[in-house]
């Protein structure tokens, strides 16, 4: 097949799939074959423009596509078969839904006339995935196939991005029809609002100029909006001189090295970020959704502030926290409009009040909430991430994570200067995300250093994708903070359940070095803090997938922490927690929360 619009050309449904993907600018898809997608795999075989990454489990395909999407700003594409292929992909779709990641997932379905008959490998894919996707389609005829495919891309990437599934019965893949290109395809009803309301933007700017204790609270929406939004954000933050914090999902939109940066906020955020949020008088929330990991106890969340909330999804506004100035629109657009107005009206912050505010923030910073007690004999996990950061930092480094304590330490101790360099499962918190996500990132950035900060438990959930890495020569570096525990679970058991470590010990772990070798990759183990730097350098040098078994302190806890059911100003800090009876910091009411 050749490039260029093929509108009007006759081809089979399977060929249309390939054509439509190419016309949408897709260069790579992640997938796994099976009976119900054989015609598409046949069409794939007969062309060489579209690269297919063969995964080892369909969940891996979805997370790889998420990594690809998040690190490029493009739509990630997945191709799997009916029945078990589709159900295996469900976790990744929900993950993408929760984190607003654009995906197009193509599933094969049993032939149209067999639908509903419990045919071999039949399942109600659109039924199962209805709440797992932003939208989904069951294709009824080859005539509507090209429109649906292009529409799927439009829906996946527009507004609040998300996963879209297209279920294609096998007879339609074989059927011949006329192809139509992507020109003019948009949805007849789905038209998200991009421009913010001018009056509200004006009101927001007025409020910002009058603020005495302002803070920017930014989130994943800034990343979703594209690199221009991050640039616009940097300008506005510098212009105003206000402090800025971000959610887990928004890390990198604002440079970590900047003096206005307070670090991440929320359950495991910094003391200064959370106290600034608690005490502020004007909060400017940009593309964040007041998640419960961020707000803590909602009725005690930033009680005395006026709140501005910019979000492209009207359902995010006033969902958890009532705001004073809601602005529906693309956050990049709105920030640019705010900046323009701020400049045009020669606005300036209340300099004196702001100086006092920064002084107050300085005292919170001085609490050094991320300090920890290092050790000469045992590798502290925080130290491991710090060293990894020092030795790997740079614009061409991409970090993914699994889920658990290591994920939080990565967020706290790895610094991000640019957007799209940080891939993590925030909303769903899916163990098994990080390794396949790293593969997707590496596919998109072949020359980059791609490192997954993992836990020994999480990484086993999609370990089979090491085969994918080896097959496709993807030299990802899987840096496992091996504490021999499901550390995050163990920490909660210590805090809430009398240190009864029910089923949270990582028993019978594989030898990760041998495991790496068994896959055809490279294994490195490190147990001595003195050897850590050397071994990390060795890992970076290796041009192959690496499993790095970093043996760390087993029972380290992740602090600071806002215990569930508490407010931002009731954080517990590492040193205080060590002194107190740690089992009693969460009260009965907090225990039922997650």
């Amino acid at each position: 097949m050749t490039k260029g619009s093929k509108t009007g050309a006759e081809m089979t449904g399977a060929e249309m799939v390939i054509r439509a993907l190419l016309d949408q600018g897709v260069d790579t898809i992640f997938g796994y074959p099976g009976g119900a997608v054989l015609p598409i795999y046949d069409a794939l075989f007969q062309q060489n423009e579209l690269q297919h990454i063969l995964v080892r489990h369909e969940q891996g395909a979805t997370h790889s596509a998420e990594g690809y999407a998040r690190s490029t700003g493009k739509v990630g594409v997945v191709l799997v078969t009916s029945g078990p292929g589709a159900t295996n992909a469900v976790t990744g779709m929900v993950d993408a839904l929760m984190d607003s990641i654009p995906l197009v997932v193509i599933t094969g379905q049993v032939p149209s006339h067999l639908i509903g008959s419990d045919a071999f490998q039949e399942c109600d894919t659109v039924g199962i995935t209805r709440p797992a996707t932003k939208h989904n389609y069951l294709v009824k005829s080859v005539e509507e196939l090209p429109r649906i495919l292009h529409e799927a891309f439009y829906v996946a990437r527009s507004g609040r991005p998300g996963p879209v599934l297209v279920d294609i019965p096998k007879d339609i893949q074989f059927a011949a029809g006329l192809y139509t290109g992507p020109e003019h395809v948009e949805h007849r009803t789905y038209k998200p609002r991009i421009e913010g309301d001018a009056d509200k933007i004006r009101a927001a700017v007025e409020l910002m100029a009058s603020a005495k204790k302002p803070v920017f609270y930014t989130g994943g929406g800034v990343i979703n909006s594209g690199t221009r939004a991050s640039e616009a954000l940097r300008e506005l933050v510098r212009l105003t001189g206000f402090p800025i914090t971000s959610t887990l999902m928004g890390l990198g939109a604002y440079p970590h090295s900047d003096k206005q940066w307070l670090g991440m906020l929320g359950m495991h955020g910094t003391f200064e970020a959370n106290h600034t949020m608690h005490d502020c008088d004007v909060m400017i929330c940009l593309g964040a959704r007041f998640d419960d990991r961020v707000t803590g106890r909602v009725d005690a969340f930033s009680p005395n502030s006026k709140k501005i909330h910019v979000d492209i999804d009207p359902s995010s506004i006033n969902k958890i926290v009532k705001v004073d100035i809601p602005i529906v629109g693309d956050v990049g657009n709105v920030i640019e409009a705010m900046t323009k107005l701020w400049k045009a009206e020669k606005k300036s912050a209340d300099k004196e009040a702001l100086a006092g505010w920064w002084k107050q923030i300085g005292t919170w910073r001085a609490r050094k909430s991320l300090s920890y007690k290092n050790s000469k004999s045992i590798i502290k996990p925080q130290y491991a991430v710090e060293r990894l950061y020092e030795l790997t930092k740079g614009p061409n480094t991409y970090i993914t994570t699994e889920v658990g304590q290591h994920q939080m330490w990565a967020a706290q101790y790895y610094g991000f200067e640019e957007p799209n360099r940080w891939m993590t499962s925030g909303g769903l918190g899916t163990m098994g995300y990080g390794l396949p996500a790293a593969l997707g990132v590496q596919v998109a950035h072949p020359d980059a250093l791609v490192c997954c900060i993992a836990g020994e438990a999480s990484v086993l959930m999609n370990m089979q994708e090491m085969s994918t890495a080896v097959q496709h020569r993807l030299p990802v570096k899987i840096f496992i903070l091996n504490n021999e525990y499901m550390g995050m679970v163990r920490q909660w058991q210590q805090l809430l359940h009398g240190a009864r470590y029910s089923q949270s010990y990582s028993e019978a772990l594989p030898d990760f070095v041998k495991l790496a070798e068994a896959y055809g990759g490279v294994g490195i183990r490190c147990e001595d803090p003195a050897e850590l730097d050397g071994k990390i350098k060795e890992m970076i040098e290796v041009d192959a997938p690496v499993l790095f078994d970093c043996r760390v302190e087993k029972i380290e806890n992740c602090f600071p922490m806002i215990p569930s059911g508490k407010a931002h100003n009731e954080m517990i800090l590492g040193d205080a927690a060590a002194a107190a009876d740690i089992g009693s910091v969460i009260d009965e009411e907090g225990k039922v929360l997650v």
Binding site: G127, K140, R160, D299, F301, S315, V321
Partner: protein, 171 residues
Amino acid sequence: MLAKNEIVSRHVLSILVDNEPGVLGRVVGLFSGRGYNIESLTVSETEHDKHVSRITIVTSGTPAIVDQIEAQLGRLVPVHRVVDLTNSGPSVERELALIKVAGKGEMRAEALRLAEAFRARVMDATIESFVFELTGKPDKLDQFIALMLPLGLVEVSRTGVAAISRGPKAM
């Protein structure tokens, strides 16, 4: 914090959707998945050429919850428009019920007298039963059905509420 001490009230929502497979499933799934109430639901195609259907849902919640329901519905890809009729001026609400009453003698005569008083129509009659058709506001239907209960009420089928705003404008 939202919704702590706000008052729960009844709202009638009108939703225009593309009449495509699964659209009702999406709307109903949204309500069940997010724990919202459905007190009644009606759906039918209203503009055949444009494949547009109108769904009317009666729900209840605090103002914040109802706003959230509206926003969540608006987010569904095949949804054109959502209007909270309760919050947007005067509207007309009607429901139709078919009510089967069985009985003889004085009970039967009383059922018929009440039906006339309520302007219910007799759609079917045998010597020991009636099927009444009654159209009106849901509470009028409730009232009539309650009256039929001691008179031999056997079965009820209700359409759920259809509603539309008053005045010349479309939603």
